[in-house]
Amino acid sequence: MSVLTYIESNKGKIKKSAFELVSYSNELAKQLGTELVVLTINVEDTNELNKYGVSKIIKISNSELDNFDSKIFSNVIAQVAKHTNSNHIVISSSLDSKYMAPLLAIELDAGYLSNVVELPSKLNPFTIKRTCFTNKAFCESTIESDIKIIGLSGNAFGAIENETNSSSENLEVSLLDRKITVKSTEKVSGKISIADADIVVSGGRGLKGPENWNIIEDLAETLGAATSCSKPVSDMGWRPHSEHVGQTGKPVATNLYIAIGISGAIQHLAGINSSKIKVVINNDPEAPFFKAADYGVVGDAFDVVPRLNAKLKAFKAQNS
């Protein structure tokens, strides 16, 4: 009856989002009066997990699983869930996990809820809070099936440190045939992806053209942040679609979102609503974004941003 959580890795290294995921899953297991089992695939060193209260780890090592395939991975997780007799499975909100979750739900005849932001408010019926209407609202939803899959929203719960010792078990699983071939993979190197970032710096039409993006990129570099943009900016081709944040673009649930030269259309605000702290820099004091922000600077981006960057560099140098 344990809680099973699958944590993702990248080239053998545990993804940072995993620590939040296991912290949440640990609390869920406590609430259910059961134990947590963590599943890793092709991770050599799982010691980092001990810091977050993980006591039982199942390790799968198989080079065939180096490349993600939603069908094969969902089948593997289903095999593990049966092995551990888990009725609650917790996964992240990464694109891969969201891709795999519905297939896993069918494998296990489970109910699945995505974008979950809290622990269950009730266990019977199993009731849990998730975001809906693209962050314009929350919904209390029930999962009615015996097996339940919870997709935890990023940065919704936080990581809780709780040092323990863990034991691990190596498990052999059988693999389905690969039906979808990966011909090539292209990753933007040296840049933090929006999904992994604690801070996102975003630019809008107020920047006047793609040639001015250096001020966004410089600020992002200082902060170790990812960059994103508003819809008109990606529609005009100033920036790639993958940076478009908003209702029809990417959702951003980060700790700090800095919007520069973005007026704050309702669709954009919906996309960034679950970010914790929002800073707006805009020369129009009437920009609707100021109503949705925590901190605001009314001023010209071309003046404010480079000066802010210089001051942040000094701050970072002092505090590192």
Binding site: G111, I180, V182, V297
Partner: protein, 248 residues
């Protein structure tokens, strides 16, 4: 090639979201409903296959008669036939189950759905259909080309993209990139007139199974007033982010 596009009928992106009946029901008063944007990118790509590769394009929706104007719009854009499964959708599984049952007696080479609907954001219907109907599945799909019985697709991944190859039949979760915003079509008068003559088939639901239920809604708590910082005092901003918000 036969294509089926799954259409969700959702509040327009500019809608103010409210609830009635003790916060149990979405308040659709004054709300304009549209084709789910992710589905519309897919529908527009399907039109390209119709024009360039002689595909037939059907659309399907699970919903009450309220969704018919949205289905008529897809016919006016150029779909050949619409199917409406006459049931109020309960959850993603309920919708996927209906469509999967429909697929068991109607063959399609390519099924296009949106990666998620912008109302419930479940992001699971195409994957659940794939699982139920045992067909290949690619979501966050930003490009698709079909050559004979095989597809080349581009999928967005965290921090990049990948190029995939698989056989049909196939279901995709589509999004912007399949076509550009500027490629989206506004129905013209001829299309609207033709749409009136096109078949819109209404079927009884195949099943009543569901797995989850939306019980109650809340709106986010109202925000505190924004703290304005003078552009001449950016140290204060850094100090607030460091000491008050604790995000630096």
């Amino acid at each position: 090639m036969r294509i089926l596009v799954c259409i969700s009928h959702v509040p327009d992106t500019t809608s103010k979201i409210n609830f009635t009946d003790d916060n149990k029901v979405f308040d659709n008063q004054g709300v304009q409903f549209v084709i789910n944007p992710n589905d519309e990118f897919g529908l527009t790509r399907a039109m390209w296959f119709k024009e360039k590769q002689n595909a037939t394009v059907d659309v399907i929706n699970v919903g009450s008669s309220n969704t018919e104007p949205t289905l008529r719009k897809t016919l006016a854009i150029g779909a050949d036939k619409a199917i409406r499964i006459d049931a109020e959708p309960i959850d993603g599984f309920f919708v996927a189950k209906q469509i999967s049952e429909y697929l068991s007696s109607n063959q399609y080479d390519l099924i296009i759905a949106g990666r998620e609907s912008i109302d419930y954001n479940g992001g699971m219907v195409p994957g659940l259909i794939a699982g139920l109907s045992k067909i290949n599945f690619v979501t966050n799909c930003t490009s698709i080309e079909i050559d004979n019985k095989s597809a080349i697709l581009e999928r967005e991944i965290d921090g990049g993209k990948e190029i995939l190859n698989c056989d049909l039949p196939l279901i995709i979760g589509g999004q912007k990139g399949l076509v550009e915003e500027s490629d989206l079509r506004i129905p013209n008068m001829r299309g609207i007139m033709q749409a009136r003559q096109k078949p819109l088939e209404v079927l009884s639901p195949f099943s009543s199974d569901f797995k989850t239920n939306s019980v109650k809604f809340h709106k986010p708590a109202p925000r505190k007033e924004v703290k304005l910082i003078s552009p001449d005092n950016l140290e204060e901003l850094i100090d607030l982010l460091h000491n008050e918000a604790k995000v630096l």
